[in-house]
Symmetry: C2
Subunit: 257 residues, 2 copies
């Protein structure tokens, strides 16, 4: 089945590139993502149907209605999943960091948008071939299942936040969650970082879509947190957590995205 594929295959966009095995060795997806339970032979097979692809910040990766042509694994950058109501109201459902998998297996559509928040690099897999692979490789399905369970846990944490938290609690929760995720992600990639300083990769508008608030309310909560001495903000995007205790107290509960 795999030798059907070559560079001319119409399922691959011209913007894509082959992956070589040395790339896999350094990859977070290989380390702890969907590839982490594959043996070398299977990984090599999978690589034949895989192409690397870059997206610029803001670009749409998957639409909410177009038939799903491919799945993807995030190698670097951050994506968001979102839904839009007919009148334009938008809700972000979650963020994807390396080594997350994106795409709805066992359905022919996503029911949400996936778009790049920062510049993003992904490995893409043509849908039909990947599905055959998935069927034949229980260890791959097992790993995807685990990743999906984590996503479900995260979605449920955010439901509690969306339904029951005040604006300031939401913002505090988001900041802590980001501090944690960016620290872990950067550490894994060997990027020097510390737990209290980070660049918030989201605009205020993206934050408000995530928290179910408006831009103005988000902005006011940031100012409030600054006034209370819990955080410092420079250049609008660079956050320093000055009082993690205090922030956690405000956030109340949640720990992870």
């Amino acid at each position: 089945m795999h030798n059907k594929i070559d560079c001319q295959d119409e399922r691959f966009s011209p913007k894509t590139n082959h992956i070589d095995s040395s790339e896999c060795q350094l990859c977070e997806v290989r380390a702890c993502g969907m590839c982490s339970e594959l043996d070398t032979a299977t990984l090599n097979d999978l690589r034949k149907i895989t192409r690397s692809r870059d997206y610029k910040a803001g670009e749409l990766i998957f639409s909410d209605d177009a038939p799903l042509q491919s799945y993807a694994a995030i190698k670097s950058g951050i994506v968001k999943l979102s839904k839009i109501l007919p009148d334009g109201r938008q809700q972000t459902l979650g963020l994807g960091f390396p080594p997350d998998f994106i795409g709805r297996t066992y359905k022919d559509k996503n029911t949400y948008f996936v778009s790049a928040i920062t510049n993003v690099t992904v490995c893409t897999f043509p849908r039909d071939l990947f599905n055959e692979y998935l069927k034949a490789t229980p260890s791959l399905e097992h790993r995807l299942f685990e990743l999906t369970l984590n996503e479900l846990d995260a979605a449920r944490d955010w439901m509690l936040m969306l339904g029951r938290m005040s604006a300031i609690e939401k913002v505090a929760t988001l900041l802590l969650s980001f501090a944690d995720r960016l620290y872990k992600s950067n550490s894994l990639q060997g990027i020097p970082c510390d737990e209290t300083h980070f660049e918030l990769p989201l605009t205020r508008s993206e934050i408000s879509d995530f928290l179910g608030l408006t831009i103005e309310t988000v902005s006011r909560q940031f100012s409030l947190l600054k006034k209370k001495g819990l955080i410092g903000i420079t250049q609008q995007r660079f956050i320093e957590i000055l009082d993690k205790e205090g922030l956690s107290l405000l956030a109340g509960q949640l720990k992870e995205t």
Copy 2:
């Protein structure tokens, strides 16, 4: 491994009963739940570690912090999953209908409560034995994966509702979702029913925990929908949908729980 189990096994509460094969034949879990892709032999094996158990409306099934001792599949009745903030604020995360599976595989805890909304009958599986089974049976894991993906879809639909809908839209969405789910569920079980009449199994308080509102707001929206002629209410719990079009318009978008 399975012959270790008998009625005296301490992992089984005294309130439980054996399952016989004729029961499975009529069961929704067998028809379209986690058992649906098991062959007869595997099903018979699984049945040896399975016990039936009843819960009364309101009873707690799984707690959010106690180590998970068993998993369960819902045979009849409705359960809710919920989270509680330290100060008591509560958010319902979703409802479980037959043939849903409950319990967080691959972790030793649920991070939420599961409780019976109506009287409920479940099949329970001791955690450690079920895990062995799961590892050995890819078709079972596959089915659980699919069920989990559906739960994730549902969770994300509700995130949009929680984050971006007004009170009246939330209530309209809930009613449509219930009409649909109860109709499907009852039809499957051969219970006579129609799509426009149903008994709402939730109290106003449970509804408000689900929608991220207060009891009073929920009540007001019901009254409003009645005044607009979209629904009829008798005895507070019996709902008649008088204008599905209008209700769907109000709800805006979502279709399923």
